[in-house]
Structures are given as C-alpha cells and as structure tokens.
C-alpha cells in the first residue's frame, strides 16, 4: 500500500466530530481517554463516531498518520454495520506497512470533511479473543459442520473447538498458546478466517481431565507471554448442559440459549463505598453471564504471582447486546442494618451501575464490625426476606507494610480469625503502579494468619518510582444465592456483602 499525503485542512477542532477506533475484542469501544488505543498492524478494527451519529453516504476514508509525520497511510473500509437504515459502524483493515508506535487516525467523508484525530498505538501484535458479553465466539466441529457452543451444548473433552480472534499482526501462528482455566493448550492451527479479512481463528482440541468445569470456564490466548484478554467457554464433563454457578436448571439454561429471560435480583452491600443497591430485571444470557463472571478454581492457601491481564483492548464486562429490561415489581424494599436501623435501599434496573452520591461514603471512618443485613420486600410480586452477612472490616494486627517490604522474605500477617466464617477467605494483594504482575496470597479467614512471600514480590521487575499498593479483603468462595419466585416464575437472587478492606499505599 502506497503512502498517501493529505494536507487537507480539518474542520475547526471545537466543531470537529470525534471518531473512535476499537479492537474487535472490544465491542463496547471502551477505552481510556488518556491513552492511545492499542491495535496491531493489518488487523480489522471497528470505526464509529463518538456521537453515535449515522455515518451517512459513501466515500468514507480512514487514514493513519504516525506522530510527527505529514505522511498518511490509508486503511481499507471493508464493511459497514447498518440497522434501521443507519450505518453506525464501519469495519476497516489497518495497513501493514505503517511504522509502529503512536499514530493519529482521521476519518474523512466523500467531501473530504475530516473528523478529529483519534490516537492509536500500533503494536506488532495485539492478539485478543472475540466475545459476546465475555463469552468466546466459539464453535464445535461436528462431522464437518460447525455448531456454536451454548449452555446446553457445552464443550467436552476431545471436541475440536474453533474460537475467533484478531490482532495477530506480525506474530507467527506458532507463537500462540491457549490457556483453559489452568491448563495450557497448544493450538492445532491459527489461521486467517476465510472471507473475513483481518480476523483469525484458532482451532484446538479440548483437553481431557480439565480441573475446572462450568458454564464460564476462562479461556485466554498468549503470545510471547502476554495475555491480552480472558473470555470464557462452557465446558461439561459429560453429555448435557454445563453446571451453572447460579444453580440454573436445564429448563432455565435452555430458555437462555433460545433467547428467553429469567428474573434476576442482585442485592449488593459494599461497605467500602457505603453502597446498598438492589438491581433487578428480566435477564437474558448476556446479563446472566456478566452477573455470574468466570468460573474460578477453589481458593487454595498460599501465594502466587499473577499477571494482571488486559493490556487495554477493552473491558468485556460493560457490554450487552440485549436490551436492558425494566426493574421487577418488587414493591416496597426495606433494609435493616446489623444495629437494627432501617432504610430504603436504592432499587435500580439491571445493567451498568450508575454513579451514586453516597452521603455517608466520605464521612469519618469508624471501624466496621460487620454483621448481617436483612432485605425485605412487601406489597410487590415477590416474597423476599434475604439476609447477607458483611464480614467485619479487615484489621491486620501489628502490620507495618513498609517494614514488610524492607525485610523481604517470607513474613507472617495476622488478624483476628475469630471474626470470620469458614466460607470466608482472606486475600492479600500486593502490587505496584504500572506493573503487569502482582503477588496474591490466600488463606481461610478463620485461620487468623497467613505467610506472605514478599521475596517473590520483590523479584517482580519495577523501579523505585512505582509505588507499592497493598489490599487485604475478605471474599466468599462462591456466590450466595437466595430463592426468588416472582409472578409464578422461578428466578435467581444473588446477595453480595463486601466488608471494608484494608488498604495501604506507600506515601
């Protein structure tokens, strides 16, 4: 592709239209406004106007200008996504010959009117799996035919699975690895998708003896040691549906697979932000998937260095294709705190949580002893009388994080184990600003002590300017479910009680 030199004046910036480019693994176009969007050369990208206006007419062109250069490189427009007569998104294929590094992308129309530039960073590789609400676009090969994986038709050992990805860039197919839960899988092949320029597909065989089964088993690709995103696939050990963390029946799973919805109510108490929110609605497979999250292996005592995944292609969580439904008619809600005081919690519809003013959230902090909160509903279509335990505030005994870091080695951290239940685990996370790895240690909270391997943390490459950050928090092993029947239909109630964490940042 030959470089194109464009000297056309742009519309005045104050009146210019913002354009957004996103990796196909980032269907919500989520991005940091303060960093260039990371993309790979030669990959397919989604292009849209930030205002979500229709892209009227033909003749759209996308050019990329390496920073500091007047020379532009043209991307090919290879498709458009149109609904109700409105084109909201274009598909473009980035050039292969553009120099690596920061560039600005400018969209122009047939009259040569230009958008404001969007900053991108062109990397040799930015390989990430395509997904829908966090679930991989995955198919099983059956007798030469492809069948999409679903909750009622999950993958099983020995199946040949195809998943889609984008952003292989200049990496070689042999450099790609897969991780399914904790199991490494070598792909059978990594190739371009026929008829879909700029996309890749990975074929692999489901390994036997997987340690983790479920409807959302985490799946990631790795190139040169970097995992860009983690999605999930449904995996079962035998014929039949996958085992759902929310205890959904086969009939409910089939309903979700065929586009149906089930009632869902989430009740969240978060003492870190003094939040008490009830979210409800009829939830389809997208919302159920994002409410559930990935299946996790059982927590085990000990420490490990975990990579913080997601170099920036975007966050899978904030994306739903399904329309958000109205909140359920739960009637009057009453929340009773552990000290007996009563208040009315917020009741929102399911979906992206709003930003709340928390009147008490920034007030003087006093140690939170935790306790059981009770949610009751009256005069509505559901009978709710739920209790959620909020663990006491984490208060480590005689902990001096600065001294801990100075001494290194293996150190003991203690707290009052008598405050906690068997199902509660103490999680110790230590990381630094802008590093890709963190030290994560876990122990049953009632133990009241854990050994933390500071020596392993100190081996993570960093420099003095990257401040260490420590958080200790209490987690439950599995979600707490509550019975819900509304209007004669069985649904799911999820209660989450987050106690106050202990945090420390080096000053």
């Amino acid at each position: 592709m030959s470089p194109v030199i464009v000297l056309a004046a742009l519309a005045p910036l104050a009146w210019g239209e913002q354009v957004e480019l996103a990796h196909p693994a980032n269907p919500s176009f989520a991005r940091s406004l303060q960093s260039p969007a990371p993309l790979a050369v030669g990959m397919r990208v989604g292009v849209r106007l930030a205002s979500r206006r229709c892209l009227e007419g033909d003749g759209w062109k996308l050019r990329l200008y390496p920073l500091g250069s007047l020379q532009g490189y043209e991307a090919s427009i290879i498709g458009a996504r149109t609904a109700d007569g409105c084109t909201r998104e274009l598909d473009a294929l980035l050039p292969h010959d553009i120099p690596m590094g920061v560039a600005e992308a400018v969209l122009t129309d047939s009259r040569d009117h230009s958008s404001e530039p969007q900053a991108v960073r062109l990397n040799p590789v930015q390989f990430a799996l395509l997904h829908n609400a966090g679930r991989a676009m995955a198919q099983r090969m059956e007798g030469g035919r492809l069948q999409p994986l679903s909750l009622t038709a999950p993958a099983r050992a020995g199946d040949r699975i195809l998943v889609r990805a984008a952003g292989l860039g200049r990496a070689r197919a042999e450099e790609v690895r897969l991780r399914l839960a904790q199991t490494r899988v070598r792909p059978l092949s990594v190739r371009a998708v026929a008829g879909e320029p700029g996309l890749e597909e990975i074929e692999f065989e489901m390994p036997a003896n997987l340690s983790l089964l479920g409807c959302y088993v985490p799946l990631a690709t790795e190139v040169n040691g970097v995992e860009e995103n983690v999605v999930s696939i449904p995996v079962a050990g035998a014929v039949g549906p996958c085992r759902h963390q929310l205890g959904l029946t086969e009939a409910q799973l089939l309903l979700l697979d065929t586009g149906g919805r089930i009632p869902l109510v989430e009740f969240l108490i978060d003492r870190n932000f003094n939040l008490a929110v009830v979210s409800s609605g009829m939830a389809g497979s997208d919302l159920i998937a994002s409410s559930t999250g990935h299946d996790q292996p059982p927590l085990q005592s000990g420490c490990q260095v975990s990579r913080t995944t997601g170099g920036g292609v975007g966050d899978a969580v904030y994306y739903w294709e399904e329309q958000l439904a109205d909140k359920l008619p739960l009637g009057d809600l009453e929340l009773t705190s552990p000290d007996g005081s009563k208040e009315n919690p917020r009741h929102e519809r399911l979906g992206p949580i709003g930003v709340y003013f928390s009147p008490g959230g920034f007030g003087p902090r006093v140690p939170d002893p935790g306790g059981v909160w009770q949610l009751r509903a009256s005069n509505g279509d559901a009978s709710i009388d739920w209790r959620v335990r909020v663990p006491p505030e984490v208060q480590p005994e005689e902990l001096d994080p600065a001294a801990l870091l100075a001494e290194g080695g293996i150190q003991q951290v203690r707290w009052n184990g008598g405050d906690y239940l068997e199902s509660e685990w103490m999680i110790f996370r230590l990381r630094r600003d802008n590093t890709a790895s963190e030290l994560v240690c876990a122990a049953p909270a009632p133990d009241g002590r854990m050994s933390v391997d500071i020596g392993r943390f100190l081996k993570i490459p960093s420099d003095a300017a990257q401040r260490p950050y420590l958080q200790m928090s209490v987690w439950r092993q599995a979600p707490l479910l509550s019975p819900l029947r509304i209007g004669g239909t069985d649904g799911v109630g999820i209660t989450i009680g987050l106690g106050r964490s202990y945090t420390w940042v080096r000053r």
């Binding site: 910036l13 960093s35 920073l67 500091g68 007047l70 400018v106 960073r121 802008n434 401040r467």
Partner: protein, 480 residues
C-alpha cells in the same frame, strides 16, 4: 502612609473544611463560560443576553441521562406571570445538557427558566438576562472566518474575525478590540438574531505591527465587559509565525491540519515554607489548543483581571516510563506532595523510558522563592509597590502577584523577576490574601529536545513555580 497601615504577614490559618453546598439542579450559562459546565458545585448562573446561545444543564442526585432525545426537550422562560417564551433547542450536548437559543424578546432581569421533557417539567432555575454579554466561542479566524493557522499568520492590515454569542443590543461604539494593548479598528459586526449562527466581529489590524508571534494576546470589550484573552498568530510578512516553543514549520503544519505533535512538560511547584512541594511530568499528544495552552502567555508585564479559569482538556498520554527528580535535598518522593518549600539549586529530572519515549535527563536551576520580607510600600497615588532583590533571578523568570477572593474578579500582576520592583494599582486596598510567585515565563521557556521511539522529534518544557501566600491588609485609620 498617614491614613493606612499595611500589615504583611504569612497566611497562617489553614482553610477550614467546609461542607459542599447543595448543587443547583438547573444551571443556565453562556457557552463561553465553560468552567461552569460539569461543576456540580457551581452556585451561580452566568449572565446572558437575549438571542444568545446558552447551555442549560440539569441533574438529579444521581448522574443520569435526563435528556436523551432532543425532540422531546422543551425549554421555556417565564418573563412575567402567565407569559412564557420558548427557547429554541439547538442540540443535546450530553444527556444532561442542551444548547438553546434564547428568545429575542427577553427583557433584562432574572426570570424563571424551565426544562420540560415529554411536556412534563423536569427542573426549573433562574436565568439572568442583561443587555449584552458577549463571549467568544471559536478560535480567531481570518477574514473568511477560517481558523487562523500558525503557518498562515496575520500581518499588517489583515482582517481577523471573532465568533461569539450574546452581542445583544449594542452599538459599534460600545465595541473595542485590542491586540497586545493596541486598539483595533472594528470593520463590521453581524448579529445573528435567528437560527443557530453566531455573532461575528471583524477587526482590521494596523498596517504597521509592532508585535509578532504565534500567540499575540487579543481581547475584545463589549458594553464594558472584557472577553477572554485569545491568541492571534502574527507575522510581519504573513506565512509562518515564530513559535515560542521553537517548533519547525513541519510541526506547525501538522498542528494546522488538526493533528497533534508530541509535547513534554515537567513542572516543579512549591507553595512555600508552610505549604507543599511536588513535581509533575507528562509526555502527551498535543494539538493546536494544548500547544497554545502550554505556550500562550495571556499577558506579560503589568496587571490584569484574572481570566476565566477554563477547564483543561485531558491530553492523551505518551508512555515515557516513570520520572524521578533529584535536587539539593536528595530524590523527591514520586508524585506526592511533601511539606515545605523546594530548596533553591540544581535539579535533575530523569525518566526510565517507555513504549513511546526513550529515557532522557534534563537539568534545571531553581531560584530562591519569594520571601515574606519583601518590601511593601504605599505610594503617594495609593498604588502599592513591592520590591525584592532582582539580582537573585535570571532572564526569563517572572514575579507574579495574584489575588482572588471569590467575589471580586481578582487580578494578576507580572514583572520581570530581575527588575526587582512591581507596582500594583490602587485597587490593592481590596487585597486580602495574595499569592506571590516566581515562575518561568512562557515567553522565555526553558526547552529541551526529545526523541520519540519512532524517530520523531518533539519539545519538552521545563517549568517551575515557587510561591508564598501572604495576607496584605490595607486598612484606613492606621489600625491593623
């Protein structure tokens, strides 16, 4: 000194914590008063003129999309009991704010303004109408109205255009333009009383220009109100202006085309012995506006009313790794502010390098901060004179005194630090607390060259600001 006693003292009292006021639920303001936008605790609407464009912002106790569809929004102004006028809804700015054009027949005074959605009242507030309240909305344009380019600067006799809204009912005689203090001839004015257009003022520059540069300050005064100060690119022979950051023509051409260049900015800040010190360093993408913000000195010597505190755009950051600073007292703690002033002396700024910018190192000499023992005198004409030891400072360093009490507009005075003296006009009587600072002039920035990983070159600006808070009380009758 017979009628006044001057008391100069360090401000010792820490500001007490205050409760946030309840935010107004509807705020109507001039589009040029952008600093109001998005400020939940802004408590005063700005003034507006009839026919002016205005932004009307509403919110609830939860950030929520209250106005998703323009077609379902109506905005009404009640001018007297039983009589309401409809404002034209021009656009939805974001889902809690609309841009409207106010009715042409609005009388001066405070009126009730109401936003309706699906014909149901959403919120009401007040709108303050005055005869004229002009604010500039676009960068300075050439005779045809196109944004002036750095590579196509104005020269002697050029025509420049200002686009704004709120001109109101004024005559030509009430409009005054200045280019760096030099009066400009008003060529013509166009008032847009209908539609979504803007008021336009066109001025002709003098045939013989005594100033040049990419950011020569221009201001316009309409019916007694000064607009914001705007930069105008001026070159004696047209063509490219001389850029204070030393940008070569190719980089100015990139900026003129609407795209960005790289820019690094290192800032060392100290608010005095009883204050704090910190440093910041950023390597960013910078377009025309961000480069102008870094390079445009709104005024050089003398005193002026404080310009509006415009919101800063969030720049796209380049990855240059982490930054550390070593000074006479050792390595400064990263990012956090520390108690006390920065000691004068040599400082070295170093980066580790990152994806976009390789490591670099730059040195700077920090001068002595202003001392509370500056000599302050009231002159015979009631002006206030402040003197200091100018020999301690270098060319390119400026001494500033700024005051802002929250009600008065406030002012800022500047003088070359080497001069050792500054005169503040008689309005000093109203001074309560002032900030006295020594900082680097944007007209004489300390620059350092940088190289990006892709081979592109860009500029870095080394900046510092060393201030002290003083209280200067000027009281009649000789009693402090």
């Amino acid at each position: 000194m017979t009628h006044f006693t001057l008391v100069v003292q360090l401000l010792l009292a820490a500001l007490g914590a205050q409760d946030w006021p309840e935010p107004r639920r509807l705020l109507a303001y001039h589009p040029a008063d952008e600093w109001v936008a998005g400020n939940f605790f802004a408590d005063e609407p700005s003034e507006l003129a009839a026919s002016s464009l205005a932004i009307v912002q509403v919110w609830n106790d939860r950030l929520h999309c209250l106005l998703p569809d323009k077609a379902r929004v109506r905005v009404q102004v009640r001018v007297q009991a039983g009589r309401t006028l409809e404002a034209e809804v021009v656009s939805i700015l974001h889902c809690s704010a609309v841009q409207v054009r106010l009715p042409a027949k609005l009388p001066s005074g405070t009126h009730e303004i109401t936003v309706l959605y699906d014909n149901a009242k959403l919120e009401s507030g007040e709108v303050r109408i005055v005869r004229s309240y002009f604010g500039v909305l676009k960068p300075v344009g050439d005779a045809a109205g196109t944004r002036m380019k750095l590579t196509g600067a104005a020269s002697g006799g050029s025509v420049i255009s200002l686009f704004g809204t709120g001109l109101g009912d004024v005559s030509r005689e009430e409009i005054r333009g200045e280019l760096d203090g030099t009066p400009l001839a008003l060529l013509d004015m166009e008032r847009e009383d209908s539609g979504a257009g803007l008021d336009v003022l066109r001025f002709r520059l003098p045939a013989q220009l005594t100033v040049e540069g990419c950011y020569v300050p221009m201001a316009v005064r309409v019916a007694g109100k000064w607009s914001d100060i705007l930069p105008v690119a001026v070159s004696p022979s047209g063509g490219a202006c001389r850029h204070p950051l030393g940008l070569p023509p190719q980089q100015m051409e990139i900026l003129d085309s609407g795209r960005s260049i790289g820019l690094a900015s290192v800032q060392l800040t100290s608010t005095g012995q009883r204050g704090w010190s910190r440093y910041s360093a950023a390597m960013t993408l910078a377009g025309l506006d961000l480069v102008a913000e870094a390079a445009f000195e709104r005024h050089a010597e003398g005193c002026r009313t404080l310009p509006p505190n415009r919101p800063r755009a969030y720049p796209v950051m380049l990855d240059g790794g982490t930054v550390s600073v070593r000074g006479p007292g050792g390595v400064l703690p990263p990012e956090d502010s520390v108690q006390g002033a920065l000691p004068p002396g040599a400082y070295v700024v170093q980066t580790t390098g990152g994806l976009d910018v390789p490591p670099f190192s730059v040195q700077v000499r920090i001068p002595e901060p202003p001392r509370p023992a500056q000599r302050v005198r009231r002159l015979a004409n009631d002006d206030l004179s402040i003197e200091w030891d100018g020999a301690k400072y270098e060319e390119g360093e400026v001494f500033t005194v700024s005051a802002f009490d929250g009600r008065e507009p406030g002012f800022i005075c500047k003088a070359p630090a080497r001069a050792g003296i500054m005169t503040i006009p008689a309005r000093a009587e109203r001074i309560g607390r002032v900030a006295v600072a020594v900082e680097r002039s944007k007209q004489h920035p300390q620059l350092f060259p940088l190289l990006m990983s892709n081979g592109a070159r860009f500029q870095g600006i080394m900046d510092y600001s060393l201030s002290e808070d003083f209280s200067i009380f000027v009281q009649p009758g000789g009693q402090p």
